[in-house]
């Protein structure tokens, strides 16, 4: 909407009186105008979380000083916090194997200006989708992986991601399980799309499982990757109706539409700093 530069502050901590007032006052004292804010208090866990988006136009101190002040204030409340700026868009790496629908979807959304971020590169364990990336002028890196090479190839991938200053990794139907070590380098910064409404049909071939079980709804789940497969905090889910008339091939086709929308919503929410993971649950402001 606006051409002004904004910052987004995400924070969470054990609930305590005066949190909202304290943060609002600190920002107000330094000329930051709050554009949008949401608070949430999880009543079962007693965790307070907040997202504040504010205008930087009249901020009367440099960003690093603001961050230093935030650090002090957040320390008082044992807050976990992070801040991002609209003039420093996040850099995204998309990991794929052989399915192109989610990759296409993200590339087109990027071209249409839907994503607040830059798609810096595509990584794959297969050369198949190089043509798709090149249609959109995005670099495509192949790291073939087998049991022997996996550790070394992941190491090279990590070097690439560091070199390219990647903020977010999107597993867009990437058919490899990432090692714990890889995942630990990108905590809450790897989004995976699983083609079922988890926890139903985790693991391999969920559409086949769904057909066998005769379900009447299939769906998809976007979640942060953790060391436990298909167990990370869920960001978004959705479903579509299916019937006895749908073959497994139809489930795959209908599922693609859900997968790409669910993944896109999750990526968009992450790029706009709307997501906080609290254990296995997420707050999506």
């Amino acid at each position: 909407m606006s051409a002004t530069t904004t910052a987004t502050l995400l924070l969470c901590c054990p609930d305590r009186k005066g949190l909202v007032a304290a943060m609002a006052q600190l920002l107000h004292d330094h000329g930051a105008n709050i554009l949008e804010a949401q608070q949430h208090l999880d009543p079962e866990q007693g965790i307070f979380s907040q997202r504040i988006q504010f205008d930087l136009a009249e901020l009367d101190i440099p960003r690093d000083q603001l961050e230093a002040l935030l650090g002090i204030e957040c320390g008082r409340y044992q807050m976990r916090w992070r801040i991002s700026y609209s003039d420093r868009p996040k850099r995204v790496a998309i990991f794929v194997s052989k399915f192109e629908h989610c990759l296409y979807d993200l590339l087109i959304r990027h071209r249409l200006g839907e994503l607040r971020g830059e798609i810096a590169l595509v990584v794959s364990n297969h050369p198949d989708l190089a043509g798709v990336a090149s249609q959109f002028g995005v670099a495509y890196h192949v790291f073939e992986i087998d049991k022997q090479t996996k550790a070394a190839q992941e190491q090279r991938e990590l070097e690439l991601l560091r070199r390219e200053k990647i903020d977010l990794v999107v597993l867009a139907r990437y058919m490899q399980v990432l090692s714990e070590r890889f995942i630990s380098e990108f905590p809450e910064r790897i989004i995976n799309i699983h083609h079922s409404t988890l926890p139903a049909f985790s693991g391999a071939r969920p559409y086949h499982q769904a057909w066998e079980r005769g379900v009447k709804r299939i769906g998809a789940t976007a979640h942060y990757a953790t060391s436990e497969l298909d167990e990370g905090p869920i960001i978004e889910q959705d479903v579509v109706a299916v019937s006895h008339r749908d073959t497994i091939g139809d489930l795959v086709r209908k599922g693609r539409d859900v997968e790409r929308v669910v993944l896109a919503r999750a990526v968009l929410a992450h790029l706009e700093d709307r997501i906080l993971a609290l254990g296995r649950r997420t707050v999506v402001f």
Copy 2:
């Protein structure tokens, strides 16, 4: 719509050439006008299934002779078949425990004329909902159940169902597991509502499980009861969006809306003879 009497024929058999023509011809030869028909061929299992609804106004033979002819024809094709008539509405027994929302829903739909069937009676293991049944003038039978009395009480329930010529048993949040013996007396004639999108969160307290797992969609599943708990053929499912703002209490509340709609759709489909169970899958015409 129409005041004429209709019959509905449901059948399935291994696929073979000429099935559609054979059935259409037989009905045509005796003056039955087909109002609506659907066929389905399951390509994985090679099973043909069909639902034919036809007008009885100009049928030129008695019903029992038509059924005898159908028996012969269906025998030739190893068909499983059943027929029902619009002037003999199915008689329904609703089983409940302490939750009233599904019971209310079915009673109100019945009053509104949505259900082609008669709600003959309510069975419960608790006296709590007697008032709800009496609001609608429906008989309420209490069979208290504990480990010692279960077998005997089920026996008494079965006697009641037989005496009342019950065609369909609806478990509307009935918190007892029926014995195999009970279930075997009503094959494909007991519909249960489970408060999750099976196979996710089978068993007890699915909303609590869903909250813990942090899902973004909750739902409900209507299925035919079989001897394996929560494993029967699924008739209908649906979901509703939930967010971090929803407490477990909110999930229960939102879930109720899905439960009652999903259960009602399944009951309606059964009463209109739209459902065929093929193993763990259903065809819902």
Copy 3:
């Protein structure tokens, strides 16, 4: 969840710096702990709106003094504001004609404890649904209306509503058009359910119109009543899929399910003080 008494403050005003901090500080200064808060800035109209729910347990001044302070503070910012308290549930009057599904739905939700409010009475222009109200022990008042008697009868209705200290009027398929005078006594406090997704099919017989037009989705709209029929600010809408197989009767039946859910969501949001009307648009926190 909690047994403590809470207050909910809803406010809106032209956007200005420091609004969030000012309100948070005022509440904090007097011991009010903020449980949940949402802000929204409408970028096209420049209107700031906010909902703050706070705990009254440690409030160190009486409520009337808090309200006086709020009045002063809100005056400085030209705020429109209102406050409500969880220990003073809103009193609701339901207006009906001859359709019972929405009435039943609200009465059952009330019994289930879903609605933060009291259903004080039912008003109708027909005696037909007296039995439904009495099933739930709610008073039922008949005011028969024709052209001659309308003004006088509305006057008597208004007297009843005043005498019973009614906060919210719900038109649950009430088939009379209220006069401007009536509506002006309950600004943003009359919720109507219209059986189409407005602005499509406003006016009479929307399901018939929808069937004629051959739409594939039908729906319902809950909105605040204003002096222009079917033009008030929309609170909630939803739809359901229909097909060529659905007769007008099926549309009516499927529509009932949407109507009652949409109306219930709107009533719930109003009773929880989540709604602000800004011209023809609503903010629903």
Copy 4:
């Protein structure tokens, strides 16, 4: 699923006894095995319609003789009918202006094998999307249009469509109104996507209209183009939830996801010969 060649027969006529039997018999007599069939009887209009898909593997007469027999039989019943064959995929022309999301969507679905048809060419009144077509190796024809040139340019477009034997024209956000003459050359063979749930917000800038009206659901409608703008028979519709947080830009973004899915479903249904238009209504088998 199967590699065999199939035919699909669509027909409709005033209802009469024996229709189902007559068609089933005719096909059976010549070795055609019915794979799938649906009948529908519109009770208000008394119109019978049917879709029959059958296997050609053991057909014992040539296709033209089958068609001659069908012509005779259908003549007896005043049937409107058409037949198509799986080995003669329909040829599609996509018309676009400057919005690429629907074009991309159809091109990608074609590449993924979802569409039973061939995308033969793209027509546009602007050169902007030539690059998108060339990404997928599809011919792109520019016909610039203004008031003076419109008639002549449409004439040239029609010549192109005839030369390329186009069966279906898809208006994928094509911002020109086609002349009656153009439309009359492709009856029930031009599918348009309108970015609202018609009849709501017909005409220009529906998302702006929707934002102004403050609706809580936006959607899209795919319909056959007729000489009356936005009034053709509706094939498919769907909606997505929006809230006060959504700007007009957000509506446009969310709307794109609905537009492309709704358009794709309609195109798919047409290519599979599932649609019959009966006046302003469609049967979509």
